[in-house]
Symmetry: C2
Subunit: 459 residues, 2 copies
């Protein structure tokens, strides 16, 4: 099996395992106790905090350990907002943040706050000026990921931090995807991450609150972790998290070069090996290990299943692989094709031959799924009526796009096709198809049922 | 070293270690993913949930795993209160709950709710009628621990659940101290626990919400653990928690008998070995492994330090061992002596000879601390004035009681002594001293500085 989903979670790093084992015997007791076992536990906890703080580039007393990266985000966002409640109740986030940030923003809105989403370009990156435009006198907090978890695009964190700093607004950086690679540059105020993304154990998140940043922890009082992370500290896991962060950082520079070359291979070769593919995300400013592409006329779940059967574990932002039946909010915000979406995120140490095998297997896997779905293989040329209606109501992605493509050749140049669909993915995928095909997307109109997506043939 | 602080946290059970090791390789991936590693993780998680649910006596879909027992309490209390917000905003707790429950209650009060604390008797037990009297038409939730964490007293949970059930009010049971021993009896509605109390790993709490109980999870939305415990599941630790719960349960009945005999030995012999000791907690309805006593004229921290030096790790509810400088709320609610407080909580498997060695060491340790503090060894007999003032302002527990005892013999029978103290512990310890000595505690009065505690000599 080749596990290519490191962005979801990495297998345990050998150093993490070793540290976990060692500290199970020394770190199980309550570190607030004065007796021998408690003192040992406290020493381990303190040493882990020092080590992790050094790798992050913060003071040890600015760092607390939470139970997950998600929890660090929830706590960090809520605490920073509450700490600056008197300033105002406005929050800025980018439109491609991790769901933990967006859900924190929703909870804040439900509680009466106001949220501004900063848009991204087609590569998935925000512009610092977007944050500048969103800042208001009542802005309590801004959030920006260090790099995107679905497409790997690196965000201009230092520049955005500068814009926020000039306005006196703290910036929280969700560094979940990048902290294993390098410290976050720039003058940020809060930082969050989760250890299992870099090969640390599950159950450990990190929350940094810089000295001087106003912060009011929410929820019931608890004395542990400076009052910011209630509950008995999971010291063996914390020790393993800190040790593995140091370990992956020692390998990071060299491994980044190697993985970047491997993902570059995928970026370059997939469009040549597989027809009708869009590689998404910034080609340059990106994480070393992530590459994401979408395949026209492909059902994401079927493709993942086929790749799994052939020994590859990848994930997808396609709607049909999620419980919500809507495409990933990241792909939507970027305005790129969502159907047949595949995210390959290589763990450190991925072998070159596994990537080559993936490239060998992928074309057949995509072709097989397309064949089952009856995807168009060549455009029809018969000239039919100048206006055509495709009724795809009740059909799920990628069927609406397949049905559009099948009849497209029947209308003459200048003619239009109205695709009726009640699948949320069509809103993204029909315009994306037009862009890939060089055809005109006219727009959408409400229909008796669902929505009509109007396309004009221009060539 | 003899570790006698199992009520704080138990060393990792061998079965937990084994399960943790085994599932580090199989359970690290995201259980929501469809690929092989994700499916394996999901299988482990489902099996752990089934096993733990069986041990608790609930349905698997009623149980979620949180990151700690404290987190389970915070989530359970907040969710149950929110779920019944329309009924009202009144919460009932006992006065001897774990701080996680009391802090949840404080947070609820800060948010506009009302809290009633049900008192306990001198043994630390609530009366079911106390809950009956506290119930109101707007009561949203009642909370009761299954057994007390500081003195081991077992609470009448089934009877209180019955009283609550009759009023249509859900009862949340904090089963942290007892779940390793046995399931919680009675018709409770919610239950919480933490795995590291029974020898499971740190980082795993349990929250059970019975079907039909209204529950509205608070905080940002997250799809994991039925929306009740955000963040990536810590599956290796969850597997270890479930496996060790089954393992300790298999040993529990036999081990309970053995530990009960050992703690009974301590209960019976400490008062004979050490003068001026009060053993606290219910002598019959109690956990097998916990025994707690307080020693007059003893500084708890000094005693713990001395016991640690001699190889015993115990904890204390004395004010001088806590950061808050107030005695444990449990001892205060019970109205028992807090100075020189020692809680012995034996882990499963404690050897008889370790307990015997503790009993051999304790008298010398107590005597040593008393000697350093200049504690009275025999009552003075000289008859002095009929009224005496002892100025203990600025002195910490146990000095005020020592100074009282030293001069007590100087006043004639019928005479009074006013002890001036600004130490919070005096409020508890001076009345307790009177009760132990068979003298009359008249009451307290505000003084120019601190408080005057008035004692009358009756014998």
């Amino acid at each position: 099996m080749s596990y290519f989903d490191a962005a979801s979670g990495a297998p345990l790093h050998p150093v993490a395992r070793q540290a976990l084992m060692a500290s199970l015997d020394e770190g199980w007791a309550d570190p607030t106790r004065l007796y021998r076992e408690g003192r040992k536990a406290r020493l381990l906890l303190d040493a882990a905090r020092e080590a992790a703080a050094e790798a992050i580039g913060c003071r040890a007393d600015e760092l607390v350990f939470t139970s997950s990266g998600t929890r660090a985000v929830h706590t960090g966002v809520a605490g920073a907002l509450a700490g600056r409640r008197r300033i105002g109740r406005h929050l800025i986030v980018s439109s491609v943040e991790h769901s933990s940030v967006l859900h924190s923003a929703e909870a804040f809105e439900a509680d009466g706050g106001t949220v501004t989403q900063v848009p991204v370009n087609r590569a998935g990156a925000v512009q610092p000026s977007g944050y500048g435009a969103a800042l208001r006198p009542d802005t309590a907090l801004a959030c920006l990921q260090s790099a995107n978890h679905e497409v790997g695009t690196v965000q201009p964190v230092a520049e955005v931090a500068e814009v926020c700093r000039a306005a006196g607004v703290p910036l929280l950086v969700d560094a979940a995807q990048s902290l294993g690679w390098e410290p976050v540059e720039g003058d940020w105020s809060l930082l969050t991450a989760g250890a299992h993304k870099w090969g640390g154990p599950s159950g450990v998140g990190l929350l940094v609150v810089r000295k001087g940043v106003r912060f009011a922890a929410q929820g019931p009082v608890d004395e542990r972790e400076s009052g910011r992370a209630p509950g008995f500290e999971n010291i063996p896991a914390i020790v393993a998290a800190a040790a593995s962060l140091r370990a992956v950082r020692a390998e990071a520079a060299q491994e980044a070069v190697r993985l970047r070359e491997l993902t570059e291979r995928i970026r370059a070769r997939v469009p040549r090996l597989v027809p009708d593919v869009e590689v998404v995300g910034d080609p340059e400013r990106r994480l070393p290990g992530i590459v994401t592409f979408s395949c026209l006329y492909v059902d994401g779940e079927a493709l993942l299943h086929e790749l799994d059967r052939q020994g590859f574990s990848v994930s997808s932002g396609s709607s049909c692989t999620s419980s919500t039946l809507t495409p990933s909010h990241v792909l939507r915000a970027m305005g790129v094709l969502s159907e047949g979406n595949v995210r390959v995120s290589l763990p450190m140490g991925t072998a070159e031959e596994d990537v080559e095998r993936f490239l060998a297997v992928l074309p057949g896997a995509v072709a097989g799924v397309r064949e089952k779905l009856g995807a168009p293989t060549a455009a029809a040329t018969a000239a039919g009526p100048a206006e055509l209606v495709v009724d795809s109501l009740g059909k799920r992605c990628p069927i609406p796009v397949i049905e559009l493509a099948k009849v497209f050749g029947q209308v003459p140049v200048g003619g239009t096709i109205r695709v009726l669909s009640d699948d949320e993915a069509a809103r993204l995928d029909i315009p994306a198809w037009c862009e890939m095909r060089g055809q005109e997307y006219v727009g959408e109109e409400p229909a008796e049922q669902g929505t009509a997506y109007v396309v004009r043939r221009v060539s």
